[in-house]
Symmetry: C2
Subunit: 270 residues, 2 copies
Amino acid sequence: MATGRTHRPATRSRGIPEATVARLPLYLRALTALSERSVPTVSSEELAAAAGVNSAKLRKDFSYLGSYGTRGVGYDVEYLVYQISRELGLTQDWPVVIVGIGNLGAALANYGGFASRGFRVAALIDADPAMAGKPVAGMPVQHTDELEKIIEENGVSIGVIATPAGAAQQVSERLIAAGVTSILNFAPTVLSVPDGVDVRKVDLSIELQILAFHEQRKAGEEAAAAAGSATGAAEGQVTAEGPVAAATAAPSPTVRKGGPEGDVPAVMPA
Amino acid sequence: MATGRTHRPATRSRGIPEATVARLPLYLRALTALSERSVPTVSSEELAAAAGVNSAKLRKDFSYLGSYGTRGVGYDVEYLVYQISRELGLTQDWPVVIVGIGNLGAALANYGGFASRGFRVAALIDADPAMAGKPVAGMPVQHTDELEKIIEENGVSIGVIATPAGAAQQVSERLIAAGVTSILNFAPTVLSVPDGVDVRKVDLSIELQILAFHEQRKAGEEAAAAAGSATGAAEGQVTAEGPVAAATAAPSPTVRKGGPEGDVPAVMPA
DNA sequence: GGTTGTGAACATATTCACAGCA
DNA sequence: TGCTGTGAATATGTTCACAACC
């Protein structure tokens, strides 16, 4: 790259792949640990192991940031910590508000990793008047009425939603109207937001369902392996002991009433 | 497909793309809501909107499961709920244990969405003897000593780790040795586990850092847009008004000591 | 020798666009 | 006519493998 800014837009341009961005915090965490142990340099191999990825991926990721390593040597730990922090925008501090101080909201408020990396909890907000003024994580809970004022006065651009699902959309609208442009949503709902607003979601139940899917598959494979025909069989059957073929052949959607029981709900902490 | 099982392995075979699996819970949630409102059928367009994806993706996703729709009509809600539940393995119930009953662990234990979808909290486990016997979410906390016994007696295959980072690896080893093959890890550490064990991680701090990255970029674009040169400029510069070029050109890793002190920052609230 | 940085090959995921069917 | 199901086109992400460099 340093060969002489000929082609390639400019200054290595913008456009770090999303997948890379998502891994930078992982690298940063690993680097921070090395930094604490005063390790001066690290190879892509070592760092990759610490971050739980493979080294080719790590090098490729870093190549999007620039050439921060030294061939034959590795990466300077402190220097990389700085570069990644800067790239992630962690050299400044980000005030965040947490809305919905139930079990989960309180747990988040108490979560140390929050503050440690450039994030500062500017306020805890809840709709329950009974909560107002009560201290959580050493901070008084404020009422939703104050939301707009808090956002504006503190210049908050990141909001965390930990309310019940039913309240989340409305809360997001108020946050956005007041100036928030990034939301971390713990409520099990799809938020619809205008362009330019980023939403990331964390959903417990979804993660468990994904695990269940793989878990089920493992059970199927085990069963298939156990049952006679060794190698070949594990391909087609696996998951289904049920009517996969039947269902495909006769998709008569005559109701069928599936479900574990009758229901759903998935509210949230409280 | 359905044309006559000639090529293509068998019965539509196995191999639902991981990206699709990750969205199935989303569809399921949207469908469940429709089901509660007694909506009988839904089009890919409507369902996609409810799940927050586009309809082509949704149809493609469903095509991996089979042909469960009716052309010109849409999908039968109840039937799809059943099919997806089955595919995800939610027609059976999965006992899970939560290890580490601090703020977060307690919040998870209280989380309703847990139980609602085929998951059952079989036990709460904590290393602190003072916690033993104390009720959390209507359930007595048990001591880590009991871990193996609990896993085995309840046939637990999914474990949730909500311990401090330092304890997570060891806890995962004990869980796995006792028979757990899927782990949902809330501790901010990379777990190293043997093949065949699935780990999914949820990390607060990582999500916030990703948001910060995009937030920073927005600020950069705003600044670039505000500063003279309109359209074209927003490409190459964006984030950096700082020494991106300098860093690239002179990668002299002479320490540099990056702390959050003198540097870059692109504007921002505060 | 050792390790980075990166084109090229491969793999996975998304989107388009329309044939096929109810 | 309306909507699904899916090949084909595109975009994004990962891995390989090696030239460039310390």
